[in-house]
């Protein structure tokens, strides 16, 4: 009964620190994460835009290899890979003819026995995570889920597709204060990072701006693509917005690693474009990371009631309503 690990391309390249932090955390938790033997590319965006069989065959080959190796579940930390593997499993299990056809293509009998887990699901399944916390991650965080982690709803069947909260709950477990914000699942620009950097700068800028406006000290992500756009494209974002954003973007595993007292270097925090300033002395008030624009953290939230405290003839929130 072992859990396999599918790194995919980004974990070996642009998101090395995601992989480093995950493995550091899993080691500290005493959970082995063997890589799936002879894994291949998941097909990413390219395959399913070009050829349906190819888009299914690539993930099916990965999953079949995992099954053959005795893995009953597979952890897929990259949200895009997770989506491809989940969709493939869903489609093949729902269509016996298709399953046979794809099994023929990959020359292996894909059975669908191995579950596909994303990082939040995997961490959520670790009992008593709170007890592993050495230095509570006492920061205001904006949990950013992006587009693929919780969608499509019928296939991933994990958390709410529009207003997810699983990552927020995990952050609470490690002592963080997850904020209620509006851009949890908005698009970061994703694969347009290369071809339409201007689009990415605008979309990712909106995400950062809302997080900062609400007083977040860090954006927490679980997707290499999201990280790339929010972190590496920061100069483009700032140029378009005409202002500076110092808010760091860190992987969920890095935040967890810090809380577990793992050395920042082991978590790859030095690899980010936007420096993570609160890695030392975690207990200090982290005012340094906030931009001037967010000096009034909850500026937006209360101003309406400020100038007109009209007598509100109303009861409490409607949620209180009797059955």
């Amino acid at each position: 009964m072992k859990t396999g690990f599918y790194p995919g391309c980004s974990m070996k390249g642009s998101a090395r620190e995601y992989s480093e932090s995950l493995l550091a955390v899993s080691q500290a938790l005493g959970r082995e994460l063997p890589e799936i033997p002879d894994w291949n590319c998941c097909g990413a965006t390219a395959a399913h835009n070009l050829d349906r069989d190819l888009a299914l065959a690539l993930p099916a080959r990965i999953l079949a290899a995992a099954e053959k190796d005795g893995m009953y579940e597979v952890l897929v930390p990259c949200a895009a890979c997770y989506s491809r593997l989940s969709v493939t499993r869903h489609e093949l299990l729902g269509d016996e003819d298709l399953r046979r056809k794809i099994s023929g293509l990959i020359e292996a009998d894909y059975r669908g026995t191995a579950r596909v887990l994303n990082i939040v699901e995997w961490l959520g399944g670790i009992p008593d995570l709170e007890s592993k916390v050495r230095k509570p991650f006492a920061h205001k965080v904006a949990c950013y889920y992006g587009c693929l982690l919780v969608r499509p709803a019928g296939i991933v069947n994990f958390d709410r597709p529009e207003e997810p909260r699983s990552m927020d709950l995990l952050m609470k477990k490690i002592g963080a204060d997850p904020l209620d914000w509006a851009f949890k699942t908005e698009c970061c620009g994703a694969g347009f990072s290369v071809s339409r950097t201007d689009l990415v700068a605008r979309l990712s800028g909106l995400i950062l701006d809302d997080a900062v406006q609400r007083g977040a000290e860090a954006v927490i992500v679980a997707c290499p693509m999201c990280h790339l756009n929010l972190d590496m494209r920061r100069p483009n974002i700032e140029k378009l917005a005409g202002k500076k954003y110092n808010i760091p973007v860190i992987y969920i595993t890095q935040a967890l690693g810090l809380a577990m007292g793992i050395e920042p270097k082991k978590l790859g925090l030095q690899r980010h474009k936007v420096k993570v300033k609160f890695t030392q002395g975690l207990a200090k008030p982290p005012a340094a990371s906030i931009t001037p624009a967010s000096a009034k953290p909850t500026a937006g939230a209360k101003s309406a009631s400020g100038d007109s405290p009209a007598e509100a003839p109303f009861a409490g929130p409607s949620a209180k309503r009797g059955a």
């Binding site: 709803a153 019928g154 709410r160 597709p161 529009e162 207003e163 209620d180 914000w181 509006a182 908005e186 406006q213 500026a299 937006g300 939230a301 209360k302 101003s303 309406a304 009631s305 007109s308 405290p309 009209a310 007598e311 509100a312 003839p313 109303f314 009861a315 409490g316 929130p317 409607s318 949620a319 209180k320 309503r321 009797g322 059955a323």
Partner: protein, 671 residues
């Protein structure tokens, strides 16, 4: 010697397109005991029935098999035809070669052979059929109406005006239902309460109507014409006979900050309260969850102040047992609340409200006395966004149906807002506008063209707060799916209409079926829309599906007409397909050994003990006996009986074995 007639129907092409009916008729004629075998295009038509009648008389038939559609469809038709020709109707059986054969298979020899098999089994059965006589049962001419909204009120008044007694049960402290909460009604914009409250008063004063408010159905047993209902009259904590409804207690109650159910959570009420000023009955109830006396054991101010000493803190729930002949379910609907729309901030932002809350804001009797003020800070909203289809027609939210009333009430809301805030800017996000109904389309047009409501075809993806405004993000699909944002002061969600929370439990109590959304199922979607599959139980209003007021009222009158029709008979005829316990000549008397396992298993309490005594009065044995009035013919006792002493008339062991054997003995010569 049996002389069976077999009549094979083409059902137009429904059967003959896949089954070779001529072959079936030929094969049937070779079955031993079959004296007559024919096929015809429409057996259920007049000439078809005439064929059967003629054959029964001329060929002196002892049994009839009609190979056609499901017995649910036409068994009564053909049994009636046989009866008219002088054959006991229970000697006529239907072989279902449509639903069980032609509709579910392709055209082939195998399909035809299956039809022949079905015919042969029924021929074998009908040979064992016995002539049966229908059972006659009396009718209790009192109707039980569950739910005191507009549908229940209308049904009660119509039945009562037809001269029959009505027991109306409402779970809230007052009748009136959702309609009493509405401000104005579409498409005429007349005041909802003004047209409803006279009806409520009429209910209260009608000599034929007994109203039990603040009461719920506990259980329902029996069958059409002879139901026994137990009603739980919840403790109001006061003596209704003494209370004059003066209202002193409600004015003086010190616990005053309870969210009012009637105001959809926007207004406040005290712990002893009348839901709204025009309530019927106008008698308060004490909310024991909030009353200081029940929580802390002190206060009793209402008791001290009451001029007629009507307060009864120690009152307990009371169970009433009533006998009724028919039941009308008019339990209404609810709208989706709570955690349903996290991405719209519903339940999180005070200024994201639902349709019923908007009704209360717009109502002259509401928490703002009809002034358009938003819940968070009481300011007049300058921009209001209305979101239609909030959850409806959305498989991702688990609700695939159209809630039907929202297009119209959203147009009404936008219109009412504009009438109250002339400079205001109302926007409506919609998927499609479904305004089918008399003067409905014109009404929506009026909202758009006369009142200047901005309709945007597209869905809203998210609503969030920014700088004291609610940012509504959506798309305008008529302008190339352009993403758009509106900064609103108030957002009104037309959340999906859903079944009441207790709908499933009630359905199980009264044994009616319901759909996956817990709306009650009608007996036939087109031809029997007010009946349920349980005889004697009828439907009215939105407990069946979301409906507007005129439709609810029409269905309620329909249900009342059905009840009046039922009550016009002094006794009912029931099919005798019930269980019977074996009886034999002395000295055996019965194969029943008197273990009474069947008695414990019977869901209808229909099994009684019968003592068989000799002439000298000596007890010979005690055996089971089935009460024909209570037995529903479910067969549970038959399956359980250890000595095989119980049979269902019309489905005896002998008949069923004959069918199975006929199916097994299929010979090649039949084809």
């Amino acid at each position: 010697m049996a002389r069976i007639g077999v009549f094979i129907c083409h059902c137009g092409e429904n059967i003959s397109a896949t089954v070779d009916v001529k072959k079936v008729a030929a094969a049937a004629s070779r079955i031993p005991g079959v004296a007559h075998s024919v096929e015809y295009k429409y057996m259920c038509s007049d000439p078809g029935q005439q064929m059967i009648k003629n054959a029964v008389r001329e060929k002196n038939l002892t049994g009839v098999v009609v190979a056609a559609c499901s017995p649910r469809m036409h068994e009564p038709t053909f049994r009636r035809a046989c009866a008219e020709a002088g054959l006991n109707p229970f000697l006529c059986e239907m072989a279902n070669i449509r639903e069980h054969c032609s509709w579910v298979h392709e055209k082939s020899d195998a399909t035809t052979n299956k039809a022949i098999d079905i015919v042969r089994t029924l021929v074998a059965k009908v040979k064992k059929n016995k002539a049966l006589l229908p059972i006659k049962v009396p009718v209790t001419k009192t109707a039980l109406v569950l739910g005191g909204g507009i549908a229940g009120i209308q049904a009660s008044l119509d039945i009562a005006n037809a001269g029959h007694k009505v027991i109306l049960v409402e779970k809230q402290p007052s009748i009136g239902g959702h309609m009493s909460q509405l401000s104005e009604t579409f498409p005429t914009l007349d005041c909802s309460q003004c047209i409803l409250t006279p009806r409520m008063v009429e209910v209260a004063q009608h000599p034929n109507i007994t109203l039990h408010s603040y009461s719920e159905l506990e259980s329902l047993d029996g069958f059409i014409g002879n139901f026994k209902a137990r009603i739980r009259k919840k403790a109001r904590s006061l003596d209704e006979k003494l209370c004059t409804g003066c209202g002193l207690c409600t004015q003086k109650c010190p616990t005053r900050k309870i969210a009012s159910e009637f105001d959809a959570g926007l207004g406040l009420r005290p712990a002893i309260y009348v839901p709204f000023p025009q309530a019927v009955p106008n008698k308060p109830v004490i909310d024991r969850e909030h009353c200081t006396y029940y929580l802390k054991g002190k206060c009793r101010l209402c008791e001290k102040i009451c001029p007629t000493q009507a307060i009864r803190f120690d009152q307990e729930d009371e169970i009433l047992e009533v006998e009724v002949g028919a039941v009308v379910l008019a339990t209404g609907f609810d709208i989706k609340h709570g955690d349903f729309f996290p991405e719209y901030g519903y339940g999180k932002y005070k200024d994201v409200i639902d349709g019923l809350q908007f009704e209360r804001l717009a109502s002259a009797s509401g928490p703002t006395l009809g002034e358009m003020r938003r819940p968070s800070d009481g300011r007049v909203p300058e921009t209001v966004v209305f979101v239609a289809c909030a959850g409806s027609r959305d498989p991702a939210k688990g609700i695939e149906y159209c809630s039907k009333i929202c297009c119209m009430y959203t147009a009404k809301h936008a219109m009412l807002y504009k009438h109250k805030v002339h400079h205001g800017r109302p926007y409506v996000f919609y998927m499609d506008i479904r305004a089918g109904g008399k003067m409905y389309e014109e009404f929506v047009r009026r909202a758009q063209e006369v009142d200047g409501v901005q309709y945007i075809r597209g869905r809203v993806s998210r609503i969030y707060e920014r700088g004291g405004k609610l940012v509504v993000k959506g798309a305008d699909t008529l302008l190339g799916a352009r993403p758009m944002e509106i900064e609103a002061d108030l957002v009104v969600l037309a959340t999906a209409g859903v079944a009441n929370a207790g709908a499933e439990e009630l359905a199980q109590k009264v044994h009616v079926s319901y759909d996956p959304y817990y709306f009650y199922s009608e007996a036939h979607p087109k031809l029997r829309p007010v009946e349920t599959n349980t005889a004697g139980i009828f439907l009215a209003g939105a407990c069946q599906a979301p409906k507007d007021i005129p439709e609810s009222v029409a269905q309620a009158s329909g249900a009342a007409a059905k009840v009046a029709g039922l009550f016009s008979q002094s006794e009912l005829v029931r099919e005798p397909l019930i269980a019977v316990v074996d009886r034999q000549a002395p000295p055996l008397y019965s194969t029943c050994v008197g273990c009474f396992l069947c008695q414990a298993a019977c869901p209808y309490q229909a099994i009684e003990k019968e003592e068989i005594r000799g002439r000298d009065g000596r007890l010979i044995k005690t055996v089971a006996k089935v009460n024909p009035g209570l037995c529903q013919g479910c067969g549970t006792c038959v399956a359980l009986c250890r000595s095989k002493s119980i049979d269902i008339q019309g489905f005896s062991h002998e008949q069923v074995y004959a069918e199975v054997l006929a199916l097994l003995n299929r010979g090649e010569s039949d084809v």
